[in-house]
């Protein structure tokens, strides 16, 4: 599970994240939406321990990411929007490397790796250098490698970028399955349809604050807008903007 308590991040004079409190229980699929520069990525960076919070704390899988970073990261997987991969390795070598970093038994790496490669349609690319793969294939390699150690918490930033509809479907299905099996998923996206389809709950971050949270139906009620989630999102973010501009 994920527990964010009064999370604040200040960049110089700018408050990028302004006191976020959030609990995502075990097995929940949580999606976070927000306009550009709302503070989503900064929140994620604090959650995975890349950036220290100015105030507050982030607890991942029962461990404070600042106090017990290694324990937390053993149970966590993070896939950024442009994941880093070793260009001269093959996907198979990269997955084996990731498995060894997480101290997974060799046989388990092979078994899990084979399954993931099959599910993500990576079999044909397993022995090709990563540098020659398309963006979508790289994205699949990154997600498959991140799932290899069977993380308790999975944090992913814009997972569908570069994926064709078929592979986007596969990624969605696998994440949903894992979530139902107990993995907590924290997904950041601009694609409202993805959030609406996949998430148990959706949070909207705007100007560093978590301005709304709930199921898509609850968000519609909060915004007073029926129909597409887009309307609710625009309404909620515009309202906050006017409140800040004209207090």
């Amino acid at each position: 599970m994920i527990e964010l308590k009064g999370l604040v991040k200040q960049f110089g004079d700018l408050i990028a994240v302004d006191g976020i409190d959030l609990v995502v229980p075990r097995g929940e699929f949580f999606a976070v939406l927000g306009p550009n520069a709302a503070g989503k990525t900064t929140t994620i960076k604090m959650m995975v321990g890349l950036v220290k919070p100015t105030r507050g704390s982030a607890v991942v899988a029962g461990y404070d990411i600042q106090q017990n970073p290694l324990k937390a990261r053993e149970r966590l997987a993070y896939v950024p929007d442009f994941p880093f991969l070793y260009e001269k390795l093959t996907p198979l070598e990269f997955m084996r490397f990731t498995g060894q970093l997480f101290k997974i038994d060799h046989d388990r790496v092979r078994k899990e790796g084979e399954q993931l490669a099959r599910r993500f349609h990576l079999d044909a690319f397993l022995h090709k250098p990563i540098e020659g793969l398309s963006h979508g294939t790289r994205q699949r390699v990154a997600i498959a490698s991140a799932l290899l150690h069977d993380p308790e918490v999975f944090v992913i930033d814009e997972p569908m970028v570069g994926l064709d509809p078929q592979h986007a479907r596969i990624v969605k299905d696998i994440l949903k399955e894992r979530s139902q099996a107990g993995m907590t998923v924290f997904l950041s996206t601009h694609q409202l349809s993805v959030a609406e389809e996949m998430a148990d709950r959706i949070g909207i971050i705007h100007q560093g604050k978590l301005i709304a949270m709930g199921t898509s139906e609850e968000l519609r009620r909060q915004s007073g807008q029926d129909g597409a989630l887009e309307k609710s999102f625009l309404r909620l973010t515009t309202e906050t903007e006017s409140a800040v501009t004209h207090p």
Binding site: F11, G12, V51, K52, L70, Q100, L101, V109
Partner: protein
């Protein structure tokens, strides 16, 4: 089998450091394989260049040491002092190099960010990155001093033990600036804004260069003084170099160790080796164990920092136009400046303005050029301090050709570093520049013209100044200025042409584009062109004591053919490739 391969091994837990080492070894091995497969001819050329460089630098060091060593009564002293000075400057350069490389490797590197998200301790991340930075920062130093030390060994007629002992001492030595550079990088990242640091460093660099230009003035020596009190005079002449013999400088330990061993003073060498070993072990161990936590703090601080400069009043004052809506869209200084070139089509001017802006805003790019040309300028300004005593035409001539060599080598560094990657970078932005009605061919032409104008102005001024400092007649000043202009046209043509022939559209980072095969080939060809041209021009110089007209004509003819061939042919091939290029 690839190095670092684990396919056939049964599972056993490996440390993160060993895993990272294995992965990087495998990656580098494959890079090398790819380079060898790309073109055997080019690989052999690069190999020959490396061998040629080592041989040439060895020959130059050897002859220089022999020449200086033959100075009656003072030879050994001068050679020793040269070794001390050289190691002191190399130590300073290693420090800077380690600082810069550690900073980018620890805080501007995607792999480091990736590793921070994995269950690897910050200490293990630091240990790997430290090793990587040390190798990257120090290989050029080892490449530079290897021929020097071999030459020194031969001049001093040492036995074989000198070489392994020296290798051991050098390895212990490079650890020390690496540790200092890594801690400085962590400290700077933790407490200083990057841009603020860049500007401060550049400002300090310029100040140091100006100070050097005025500080390194040798005393005036009369013939009477030389006849009576040689040692005293020598001490006065070399007083500015005494800093290199400061006993707490690691370069002093290395130089003393090397010199002592060559003189057979084994216990003295042992002492200096132990000093380096104890410092290396203590600080090495301390760093390996303690740097992880500050590394994480600093990495977090780097990602958390707002731009410092935007908080300064004077920056806000300078930027006031950008905040004023009515002025925000009005042409800036560069647009107005290039607008004066009214005969030039607006799309040409737009590309020029864009290129100048991009260059100016990338501090690391012009910072390196400033450092290179600043050092050269400081040297040239200092020429006046001894040129008044220089009456022998042979020496004036020799120095003028060496100045031409130094300027053109700087120019080659500039063209390879900045002009070569231009097309690759533009290819990345093809959606806007390549699709515009101006066409890539014209874009390449504009870039070539701009690069030529800038490099010709810079090197022309330097060569003009150096000739002027040597009190050369106007005819000769004109000659050397013209030669450097021709070399600028050639080197820019070569870099631009090869940049189009060997593009790399995958990389955003110009320094990585340059470090590929095309960039290396460009550097090799530029170097060979410079060495060849200077040799041809020096042999066919019209101001030699015994001038043979046909030799002069042949020299000029060969230089013209060489310059036209190397400047024009790659450029034309590149432009032809553009027509059929699929990006």
């Amino acid at each position: 089998m690839d190095p670092g391969d684990t396919n056939s091994e049964p599972h056993r837990e490996r440390s993160a450091f060993a895993l990272l080492a294995g992965v990087h070894l495998k990656q580098n091995w494959r890079r090398l394989e790819a380079v060898l497969l790309q073109s055997k001819l080019l690989s052999v050329t690069v190999l020959l260049f490396i061998v040629g460089y080592c041989w040439l630098s060895f020959a130059l060091f050897y002859r220089a040491m022999r020449f200086v060593g033959a100075f009656p009564g003072l030879g050994d002293l001068l050679v020793e002092r040269m070794i001390f000075i050289l190691f002191a400057f190399l130590f300073a350069l290693l420090l800077i190099s380690n600082l810069v490389i550690s900073y980018s490797n620890l805080f501007r590197n995607r792999e480091t960010n990736f590793l921070h998200c994995l269950p690897i301790s910050p200490n293990a991340i630091f240990q790997w990155k430290f090793l990587e930075s040390t190798v990257v920062a120090s290989w050029a130093f080892l490449f530079l001093i290897a021929p020097l030390l071999v030459a020194y060994g031969l001049v001093e007629d040492v036995d074989w033990t000198f070489y392994p002992v020296t290798v051991f001492m050098v390895l212990m030595f490079v650890i020390l600036p690496a540790i200092a550079g890594a801690w400085s990088a962590i400290g700077l990242a933790r407490y200083m804004d990057r841009r603020f640091f860049q500007y401060t460093t550049l400002g300090l660099g310029v100040l140091v260069l100006v100070a050097l230009a005025f500080w390194l003035k040798p005393d005036v020596v009369t013939d009477d003084m030389l006849e009576t009190r040689v040692m005293l005079v020598l001490d006065r002449l070399l007083k500015n170099t005494q800093f290199s013999q400061f006993a707490f400088l690691p370069s002093y330990w290395l130089a003393s160790g090397v010199i002592s061993w060559s003189e057979g003073a084994i216990s003295a060498t042992g002492f200096f080796m132990l000093v380096m070993l104890s410092y290396g072990l203590f600080w090495g161990r301390f760093t390996m164990v303690m740097a992880g936590s500050p590394l994480y703090e600093a990495a977090s601080a780097v990602q958390s920092r707002g731009p410092v400069a935007s908080r300064w009043k004077w920056v806000q004052w300078l930027d006031r136009g950008k905040r004023n809506r009515s002025k925000a869209w009005s042409p800036g200084f560069l647009e107005r400046f290039f607008g004066l070139l009214f005969w030039m089509p607006p799309d040409f001017r737009a590309v020029l303005v864009k290129d100048v802006r991009v260059f100016w805003r990338d501090t690391s790019q012009w910072g390196q050029s400033l450092l290179l040309f600043g050092l050269l300028a400081a040297y040239i300004v200092n020429l006046k301090n001894f040129s008044s005593k220089l009456n022998n035409p042979f020496w004036i001539h020799l120095i003028s050709y060496m100045n031409l060599g130094a300027c053109s080598l700087n120019l080659a560094t500039l063209t390879t570093r900045f002009v070569f990657p231009q097309f690759s970078l533009e290819g990345k932005r093809l959606w806007i520049v390549g699709m515009a009605p101006i066409g890539l061919k014209k874009v390449i032409g504009i870039k070539y013209t701009l690069a030529c104008l800038i490099s010709m102005s810079l090197t022309g001024i330097l060569i003009f100044m150096s000739c002027h400092m040597l009190n050369m007649p106007w005819m000769q000043i004109g000659y050397f200025t013209f030669v450097i202009a021709v070399m600028a046209l050639t080197l820019n043509g070569l870099a631009m042409g090869l940049g189009v022939i060997y593009p790399n559209f995958k990389e955003d980072n110009p320094s990585k584009i340059v470090s590929g095969f095309g960039g290396t080939f460009c550097l090799v060809l530029s170097f060979l062109y410079i060495v060849g041209s200077i040799a041809i021009l020096a042999v066919g110089s019209p101001w030699r004591e015994q001038t043979v007209p046909w030799v002069v004509a042949l020299g000029w003819g060969s230089f013209t053919v060489l310059s036209l061939g190397l400047g024009l042919i790659p450029y034309r091939i590149g432009i032809n490739r553009l027509r059929h290029m699929e990006i």
